[in-house]
């Protein structure tokens, strides 16, 4: 693999991590959705690049899914849900932006360290890609646990899943990648519908999970 392709792939993966950080930084819901769209876009690009680099045409399908489904449909759907549900637009955070950023740094560092222990004969592209993917996954999780607002949690989950797809495509010649990305898209669709279901049931005036918790079967 030529030096250039490697650098491009590297750059794209790195920018995915960067976008994740942007997501952590956001505190407005719409902005978050837009950033997520960007996230998906970058993912689509890097997948496409991998398809080109490994000349594995089936990966283009994955890229297309990422582009159409994640970068366009999902954000719009969420956007409309927010409007329909009248969810208040700002995101309640558990941890402030600054600390969240610091933790995120720590996680990225952790991801790197863990990956560096992997012996070098696993080819460098894979190593780097995995490191970035792991960081994206961890950042997504971090986002899920530091946001109270369900939509933002969903966004966190989706970016986590982007990290997975990145890893999957980075793994050279891995079979079933398309199937897996399809399966994940279904999962995400389910989640979105799930939010929507609650709305339809006219039970919860907000999707804030703390309100959900008040409906627990057992009280103390």
């Amino acid at each position: 693999m030529s030096r250039l392709t490697f650098d491009v792939a590297h750059m794209l993966a790195g920018s995915l991590v960067l976008v994740s950080f942007l997501q952590l930084y956001q505190d407005r819901l719409y902005a978050l959705l837009n950033i997520y769209a960007v996230h998906a876009l970058v993912l689509a690009l890097s997948v496409a690049w991998q398809a080109y680099a490994q000349d594995a045409p089936h990966l283009y399908v994955t890229a297309a899914i990422a582009l159409v489904f994640k970068a366009i449909i999902i954000p719009i759907a969420l956007h409309r849900i927010i409007v329909r549900l009248g969810i208040h637009r700002e995101i309640e955070k558990v941890v402030g932006v600054g600390p969240a950023m610091l933790i995120g740094m720590g996680l990225v560092a952790l991801a790197m360290v863990v990956m560096l222990r992997v012996t070098a004969e696993a080819d460098p592209l894979a190593r780097e890609d995995l490191a970035f993917a792991l960081s994206v996954v961890l950042l997504g999780l971090l986002m899920m646990v530091t946001r109270r607002n369900a939509v933002s949690q969903v966004v966190g989950f989706m970016s986590l899943e982007n990290g997975l797809v990145l890893a999957a495509t980075g793994a050279k010649g891995m079979p079933l990648v398309v199937e897996i990305s399809v399966a994940f898209s279904i999962l995400i669709a389910f989640i979105v519908i799930g939010i929507f279901l609650f709305r339809i049931r006219e039970r919860f005036d907000t999707v804030d999970l703390q309100v959900l918790d008040s409906y627990r079967g057992e009280r103390r």
Partner: protein, 479 residues
Amino acid sequence: MTFDPVIAVLLIPAGAAMLLAALPGYRLTARINVLAALASFIVAFSLFFHRPGQGPYFHVDDLNNVFIVLTTFVGFTTSVFSASYIGHELEIGRLTPVFLRFYHAMYQVLMFAMNLALVANNIGLMWVAIELATLTTVLMVGIYRTHEALEAAWKYFILGSVGIALALFGTILVYMAARPVMGEGADAMVWTSLVVRAAEFDPALLNLAFVFLLLGYGTKVGLAPLHAWLPDAHAEGPTPISAVLSGLLLNVALYALLRFKMLLAVNPAALAPGPLLVTMGLISLVFAAFMLYRRRDIKRMFAYSSIEHMGIIAFAFGMGGPLANFAGLLHMTMHSLTKSAIFFAVGHIAQVKGTQQIAEMGGLTQTNPVLGWGLVLGVIAIAGMPPLGIFASEFLVVSSTFARAPWLAIILVFGLLVGLAALFLRLNTVAFGEPRGKSGETHASYAPMFAHLALVLLAGVYMPPALVGWFQNVAKLLG
């Protein structure tokens, strides 16, 4: 091609699912459901006598053979139970016919997914199957559309999806580890070929992979602290689903974990997964044992007891060695039989009493002797008392551990005792004493419950040598 039971085990549920999705009418669909489950059980049973050769996607070996038969069997008995249970739900109007159709279809899809996960030889395929199983169960947990049900489903869904995601990452890592050795392409995800060459894999990647797999599939197994979805999902879903969850789905997830443990067991450089499993197992056991005390909802209580037993099993596999591994496998089998039997009893009890609150049940052995004594027998079994099967496995776990790691064994015994005390504390008030709460009538089907208990009893007294042989082979492989 000749008749291949593996394909049949997959096709029957899939076909039945489509059929059931199309058909209206409760009685008919319930019957078809039972028939399909019975058919796939019979087909699976034939695997005892001749096994098809392994392919790139499916294979049957000593490990999953027993579990396929077990799954189809419990699936069959549960469908029988659910026929009567759901009928009652329909009468009291907790379910509408539309949801019922959906329910039966989903039931078969779930069966399909679990069978697929069991026979899959490709770790990617296995992952897909388990995700499918998760989604279907999420839908069925939420089927009552109450606040609690929806919330339980949502919780299950979020946690389950995160778990799934982690598991996928682990799977990818395994592939990455395998690729340099086995070359690119599907072969690097075929378990049977992986386990052959696993010794040459990169240990660091394997370790990392196992961490993710442990957390991912561990969430499905319900090991503490990843257990949060389990009690609510059990408590709020329809009881047949609780039975299938506790009895089968947890097993399937654990089965997946075992497959990867085998990989690590082969690789000398990789860090032994034992300590991780032992720690999580003990945490789950003791934690769940204490959680049993404050439970007011009977189904949630037995859900915690499932966590407890998953902890025991994880502990057993973590300890390793022929005896402990054998005990773990035995315990998986016995637990799924017993726990589903208990849920059969509990389901009917909840219908009779019209509630799941323990405080409103009492003196069952007097008002409904069969149900009451069935529950007593089930609790005795689940508490690990002879002559029932779980005692055998606990006997092996404890005794084989104490000689090697006394302190671990003492913690284990402590947890067992605390859990047992809690279970009997509740059993006393539910099964004995002055009758409490209202007692409606139900056209219960006792056959499944007692069939399971009879099997457990049989295993406690006499184990068929063939089964023992397979388990011992697997125990060797598990290291």
